[in-house]
């Protein structure tokens, strides 16, 4: 990032987010930057861009940099530290994503992977802490929880494309690679980088929109991610709120449909929703207020652009 690039992005109303893996030592261990601290550089630009939003007259509660976390084995021991590090950076949302089987994480899986029940213990600790902070007036939300709660409590869909039935592959999103190739989604693009072209659907130079949308791969993904046709999902209590990722199933189980009872992703989604319904069943008023707040959609119209 440079001042010039930042100005260009802000002038063109591009929403910017980044990755922060938690406290500086953990982030720098996982994201090495030659000759410096990756966390330090990211923190500098987060503060700089947030300041630029204010300079442009935008409401800082709506317009600020958000970051994504990749939860690795090292992260599991520090749920509170991770939350605190995000608050220190001025973030109001935290996305406690487990490590996925794509790209870099696939290459170093033996060092960063963990059983999903350990992830869920981490998730519960982090959420308990975030709920306590909210009780004390600190505004911080967790994105998985917000996505599921919006579906559970409001009956609407926040359109998070990875947890949707059918998923967004092709019909809700496409991913453009730097070489012009077009994929059903970013996961499909990453698999291409790993030598698997299963989700390549076209090229910016030659493909027509209709060809992309009607591509056999897009159709197959739409069918495979429809929970009404998933043997395990169809009778799951969480079916109205959940979603599957066929690319994840393809990568981990060798089948677009996958087997949800053995799926790490299913274990995570079920575990998170178990936690949320436990909290709803407890009925603590402060928790319910926080949950309601997390389902509030606050429009960021500055980013909307006419095509």
């Amino acid at each position: 990032m440079t001042e010039e690039r930042m100005t260009y992005l802000l002038d063109h109303k591009v929403q910017i987010c980044t990755s922060i893996d938690g406290p500086q030592a953990l982030h720098d261990k996982q994201r090495k930057l030659a000759g410096g601290s990756a966390h330090g550089v990211a923190a500098h630009w987060i503060a700089r861009i947030n300041h630029a939003y204010v300079e442009r007259g935008l409401d800082p509660t709506l317009y600020h940099i958000e970051a994504l976390l990749t939860t690795t084995r090292d992260t599991l021991a520090m749920p509170r530290e991770v939350v605190d590090s995000y608050i220190a950076l001025g973030c109001r949302a935290l996305f406690l994503r487990p490590v996925d089987p794509f790209g870099f994480a696939a290459r170093v899986g033996d060092r960063v992977e963990y059983p999903r029940d350990e992830y869920l213990t981490f998730y519960r600790s982090a959420l308990d802490y975030m709920l306590a902070l909210n009780r004390d007036g600190v505004e911080i939300l967790e994105r998985f929880a917000a996505i599921f709660l919006t579906k559970i409590l409001t009956g609407t869909d926040p359109n998070y494309l990875d947890i949707r039935s059918p998923c967004g592959a092709g019909i809700g999103q496409v991913a453009y690679n730097y070489d012009g190739k077009i994929f059903t989604c970013d996961e499909g693009r990453i698999l291409h980088e790993m030598g698997d072209d299963s989700f390549l659907i076209g090229d910016v130079e030659t493909s027509k929109y209709r060809e992309l949308m009607g591509h056999p791969t897009v159709r197959a993904l739409t069918i495979a991610s429809n929970l009404d046709g998933q043997p395990d999902c169809v009778n799951c209590a969480y079916q109205p709120y959940c979603g599957v990722c066929p690319v994840h199933s393809h990568r981990t189980q060798g089948s677009l449909f996958g087997r949800m009872r053995e799926s790490a992703l299913c274990a995570v989604f079920k575990g998170i929703q178990d936690y949320l319904f436990e909290k709803l069943a407890e009925g603590d008023l402060s928790t319910l207020r926080t949950f309601a707040k997390w389902t509030t959609v606050r429009e960021r119209s500055h980013y909307l652009q006419a095509c």
């Binding site: 929403q15 987010c17 990755s19 958000e66 994504l68 794509f102 790209g103 870099f104 994480a105 290459r107 994105r143 579906k151 559970i152 009956g155 609407t156 869909d157 926040p158 359109n159 998070y160 494309l161 990875d162 949707r164 039935s165 059918p166 967004g168 092709g170 019909i171 809700g172 999103q173 496409v174 991913a175 453009y176 690679n177 730097y178 989604c185 970013d186 693009r189 990453i190 980088e193 790993m194 030598g195 992309l212 949308m213 009778n235 799951c236 209590a237 969480y238 079916q239 109205p240 709120y241 178990d274 319904f277 436990e278 709803l280 069943a281 959609v297 960021r300 980013y303």
Partner: protein
């Protein structure tokens, strides 16, 4: 608790639904995504059809569209349609790869430009 443990199950009372144990409660979700959290006794009454129409439990169950006799098809259809409304629009979210990695390091890292993936954002 499983259905096997229910001695007297009445299949004509409950609307189509799905359920899951949540600690000492039973979560029951309707086809349209409304839900009720029931105690074990309430769940047993629900599955066995022993819920008087004037009871508070009946009101809760019917409010979640879980009672076959008062199943509101139109409302359920409207709720499901609302949940699926995003699926009716075409691709509205694009992720572009802005990584600077070269071909020799192609598989080394993920895109540096992953978006929040919500086309509403």
């Amino acid at each position: 608790m499983t259905l096997v443990q229910l001695t007297a199950q009445k299949t004509t009372f409950a609307a189509d639904c799905r359920f899951r144990a949540i600690r000492d409660k039973m979560l029951v979700t309707s086809l349209d995504g409304r839900f009720a959290l029931l105690t074990q006794d309430e769940f047993r009454a629900f599955r066995s059809g022993a819920v008087p129409p004037e009871s508070e439990l009946y009101q809760r169950l019917s409010a979640a569209n879980l009672v076959r006799a008062v199943f509101d098809v139109k409302h359920a259809a409207a709720l499901i349609s609302e949940r699926k409304s995003r699926s009716r629009t075409s691709a509205s979210s694009s992720t572009s790869s802005s990584t600077r990695r070269d071909a020799t390091r192609r598989s080394a890292s993920r895109s540096s430009s992953r978006s929040s993936r919500t086309s509403a954002s």
